[in-house]
């Protein structure tokens, strides 16, 4: 099937308040910067954590087209999707701290913190690719129940090399399931560049061989992402599908919070940092007269405050009692 490209979309092509998009992106940015600080500077947090810095336009562009009811299912790199889908920053932060007020009562931690059923955030898994067949199943349920909601499944470029990807995507395409697969191609799987793991010429080409609609989108341009997603999600909600979006983007930092990302070509990093999705969107909004520097500062300040509150909330929250764990293994 043909591969469509979406890039350089103009603001007039989208039907949402661009300031809302910006605000969400800033929330993610500030949240992740705080997490980084809590790990590296303060040493408050431990365990693995995978920051979403640099990819904000993808989560925000896609999730802003969704309602609470729509399903999102994702990986360990899930903070961005959680925030974009509307999970409370407090609960999210408390989860990082392992507290019982967290989304998962502290049992999940960073890699599963996005699981929040009330927000339609169905699952976040730490096993690369495992969400892909599960997403097919969610879509199958919607189709069967004639539930006109979307299922969106996020994963990385590296995930396209797993058996789970192949089996899941094949099934979704074969059964024409209403699911939007979003591959965030940030060029790296951990420390290995995509050219050293993908035999196909591109993720999009691989996806296309499963005989489904494929869209390649500029993942650092929130407007283009939103535009592509809006159309796709509408189709999915009408129970057509699947549709595959390859969002080309970059992570600003390392794979995990401890990774200095020294294995990347400094030139490559430099080029991509110029395309910081928040910087370019901010510049554009100012240029197009939609806001000014002051508006931006106000947003930043509000968000900073919210995140401080989230940290305090997390800090002061209590731990789950160990005996409670025994009640959480099985449904009674």
């Amino acid at each position: 099937m043909e591969i469509r490209k979406v890039q350089g979309a103009s603001l007039s092509e989208i039907d949402t308040d661009p300031l809302k998009l910006l605000r969400k992106m800033v929330e993610i940015r500030k949240f992740e910067e705080k997490i980084e600080e809590l790990f590296l500077v303060k040493g408050t947090l431990i365990g693995p954590a995978h920051l979403y810095l640099g990819q904000e336009a993808v989560a925000v562009g896609i999730c802003s087209t969704l309602s609470k009811e729509d399903y999102v299912i994702t990986s360990y790199r899930c903070h961005g999707h959680a925030i974009a889908k509307g999970v409370s920053l407090k609960k999210l932060m408390a989860e990082m701290f392992g507290k019982k007020t967290g989304t998962c009562k502290g049992l999940g931690g960073s890699m599963h913190a996005a699981i929040s059923l009330e927000d339609g955030l169905v699952y976040a898994t730490a096993i690369v690719g495992s969400q892909i067949p599960i997403a097919a199943g969610l879509a199958l349920a919607n189709k069967y129940l004639n539930k006109k909601i979307a299922t969106v499944c996020f994963f990385g470029d590296g995930a396209t090399n797993t058996g789970a990807f192949h089996e899941g995507i094949n099934l979704a395409s074969l059964w024409k399931l209403p699911v939007l697969y979003v591959c965030e191609n940030n060029l790296y799987a951990e420390f290995t560049h995509i050219t050293r793991s993908l035999s196909s010429r591109s993720v999009a080409e691989r996806a296309s061989s499963y005989n489904m609609k494929v869209i390649v989108v500029d993942g650092n341009d929130v407007v283009s992402v939103y535009k592509a997603a809006k159309e796709a999600v509408t189709e999915i909600r009408n129970l057509n599908g699947p549709i595959f979006i390859e969002a080309r983007t970059y992570r600003m930092k390392g794979h995990g919070v401890y990774d200095q990302a020294k294995y990347r070509d400094p030139k490559e990093v430099e080029e991509w940092l110029k395309r910081d999705p928040i910087k370019i969107f901010k510049k554009r909004l100012i240029e197009e007269g939609i806001m000014d520097e002051k508006d931006y500062e106000r947003i930043e300040n509000e968000v900073t405050k919210e995140i401080e509150e989230a940290v305090n909330f997390a800090f002061e929250s209590e731990l789950l009692n160990f005996e409670e764990l025994y009640k959480l293994v099985y449904v009674e």
């Binding site: 399903y71 299912i73 967290g102 989304t103 998962c104 009562k105 502290g106 049992l107 999940g108 599963h112 699981i115 929040s116 059923l117 169905v122 699952y123 898994t125 096993i127 495992s130 892909i132 067949p133 599960i134 997403a135 097919a136 199943g137 969610l138 879509a139 199958l140 349920a141 919607n142 069967y144 129940l145 539930k147 299922t151 058996g163 789970a164 089996e167 899941g168 094949n170 099934l171 074969l174 059964w175 764990l325 009640k327 959480l328 293994v329 099985y330 449904v331």
Partner: protein, 328 residues
Amino acid sequence: MREITFVEALREALREEMKRNDKIIILGEDVGKYGGVYRVTQGLIEEFGENRVLDTPISEIAIVGAAIGAALGGLKPIAEIMYMDFAMIAMDQIVTQAAKMRFMSGGQLKVPIVIRTQYSLGRAHGSQHSQFYPSWFVNSPGIKVVLPSTPYDAKGLLKSSIRDDNPVLFIECGVLYRSKGNVPEEEYTIPLGKAEIKKRGEDLTIIAVSRCVQEALKAANKLEEKGINAEVIDLRTLVPLDVETIVNSVKKTGKVVIASDDVKYCSIASEIAMTVMENAFDYLDGPIVRVTSPPLPVPFSPELEKAYMVSDVKILNKIEEAFGYKLS
């Protein structure tokens, strides 16, 4: 009461439950148009349609993964994994996803799926189609493990498994598929977590699951002829485990034999033995005896396979050896 086969009993359970609950779907390889390699799902696609009985590609990861997703989305999926050997391909989905979802989401998620599978030891299928490893799942909190040994149990336990809100691994035994037994016409279910005393006795306790229950009963009948009264316990579910029935029996008999088709080391027999040790040590008047498969892959050759397998004779020999009875 009428007699039906194990396969028919399973099919009835599926059919009745599908009628009762339109959220139930079945998915697996050849379960639809063909009616299942072992005919368990025969006729269901005709009765319930292609939306509810889904033929899948050869994709065990996707079968279990899609079942999980469909469950999260509000359905009650029953996934068939044709041979237990192939469940290994989906191990991540079964153990690292399904079994842990509820816990690691802090109780938010539930995953009401049934994974039906069968092991084919005893049918000359060779090393790669005869594996039986229930202990792996007992070792993995978050999933229930059910093993019927009669058509009656198969029906009642499958119905309960389907009505359970947790992931359930339902392990059938291929060589029992054609066995017949009494099954009432009326609706009934069998609770998960209740063992059944298939034969009462006072002299020793034989604990078994699946095919080995039948071997244990044959052995018990031969013991009867020698005036030894064995009690035969069919565990029926390994998770949850009915510790009470085990312990009560051991308190009475003081002697325990455990028979199961899995390979001896780290088997369910090892665990049941520890359960006895930890809960009834003082009542034991002899060692706990395991009768299991030896630490070998399964040979194809039908004769060698027979020599490999647990049998009534092996159970009797072990009993003779361990407890000093004169049986021959």
